[in-house]
């Protein structure tokens, strides 16, 4: 295989996953939390495709495509929720959405 080892791709994918997790933890705007979730999912996709290349099997790529479809579904529902929140004049701040807190 030309270029770097699969290990380098795995390092990159774990770094991406952690950057996304940091965004989910640190940001309070639900829009940017969704964007950071996309980064996490893409980090996982990169690992899946790197392992698919490593094993010489297409199954990892099929799984990555399924993850993409699930991410699209998640974005549809998440953005729908955010728009519904904005229409009810709720604050777009995940720290202030405490109605369901036990």
């Amino acid at each position: 295989m030309l270029g770097p080892d699969v290990t380098w791709y795995l390092v990159l994918s774990s770094l991406l996953f952690v950057i996304g997790a940091l965004g989910v933890l640190i940001r309070r705007s639900p829009l940017i939390v969704l964007l950071s979730l996309e980064i996490m999912l893409n980090g996982c996709n990169l690992a899946l495709i790197a392992f698919a290349r490593d094993q010489g099997e297409g199954a990892g790529q099929v799984f990555a495509l399924a993850v993409m479809a699930v991410a699209a579904a998640e974005v549809v529902v998440g953005l729908g929720l955010i728009v519904a929140m904005a229409r009810r004049r709720l604050d777009l701040d995940v720290d202030r959405m405490t109605t369901l807190r036990g």
Binding site: L2, G3, P4, D5, V6, W8, Y9, L10, L12, S14, L15, L16, F17, V18, I19, A21, L22, G23, L25, I26, R27, R28, L31, L34, L35, S36, E38, I39, N42, N45, A47, I49, R53, D54, G56, E57, G58, A59, Q61, V62, A64, L65, A66, M68, A69, V70, A71, A72, A73, V75, V76, V77, L79, G80, V83, A84, A86, R87, R88, D93
Partner: protein, 180 residues
């Protein structure tokens, strides 16, 4: 090292730094619009990495589905809501930020240990692949034979999400009408 290998390394390093830099930008920008634009850069550089891993079909789907469809939806919602988000690094570090950064660092260590323990010794020699690997032919064959159930379930998931999105939008409009 021959010229092709050096070229692939250069492309890989550029794509990797583009990926990480735009990822940090998504997390750091206070304007959601800039974050979404940075995420488009992130997804495109990931598509380059997929091409280097000879996953041509997934790279094309990444650009079409993610950088095309999903990000257009994001940009529409951001344009509809407008406004600013929180500025993540403004002011001194709060205890929440310190906790978030240390949790993320712990996650990184955990992932590296887990992957390194499970796969560390076996990653140096990749399997050899033919020209069909990662093309639409192979992906389509896999989806319609071994992974037919996953394919069908994916379609149901997308249908449910579409119906859910419509219901969420219609419901809040009815509420707004009742309030007037």
């Amino acid at each position: 090292m021959d010229v092709g290998n050096v070229l692939v390394w250069v492309v890989w390093v550029l794509a990797a730094f583009g990926c990480l830099g735009s990822g940090v930008a998504v997390v750091s920008f206070s304007n959601p619009f800039y974050s979404a634009l940075a995420l488009i850069g992130n997804l495109s550089s990931l598509a380059v990495l997929y091409l280097l891993l000879s996953a041509e079909f997934v790279a094309a789907a990444q650009v079409l589905v993610y950088a095309g469809a999903v990000m257009v939806m994001f940009l529409f919602v951001i344009a509809y809501l407008g406004g600013r988000a929180d500025a993540p690094w403004a002011g001194g570090p709060t205890w929440q930020q310190v906790a978030a950064v240390s949790a993320a660092a712990a996650l990184l260590v955990e992932v590296v240990i887990a992957v390194g323990l499970k796969a560390g010794g076996r990653l140096s020699d990749e399997a050899s692949i033919d020209a069909f690997f990662g093309g639409p032919h192979q992906i389509g064959t896999l989806f319609l034979t071994n992974y037919l159930l996953a394919f069908e379930i994916t379609s149901i998931v997308l249908l449910v999400a579409a119906v859910g999105g419509v219901i969420l939008g219609a419901h809040s409009r009815r509420l707004e009408g009742a309030r007037r």
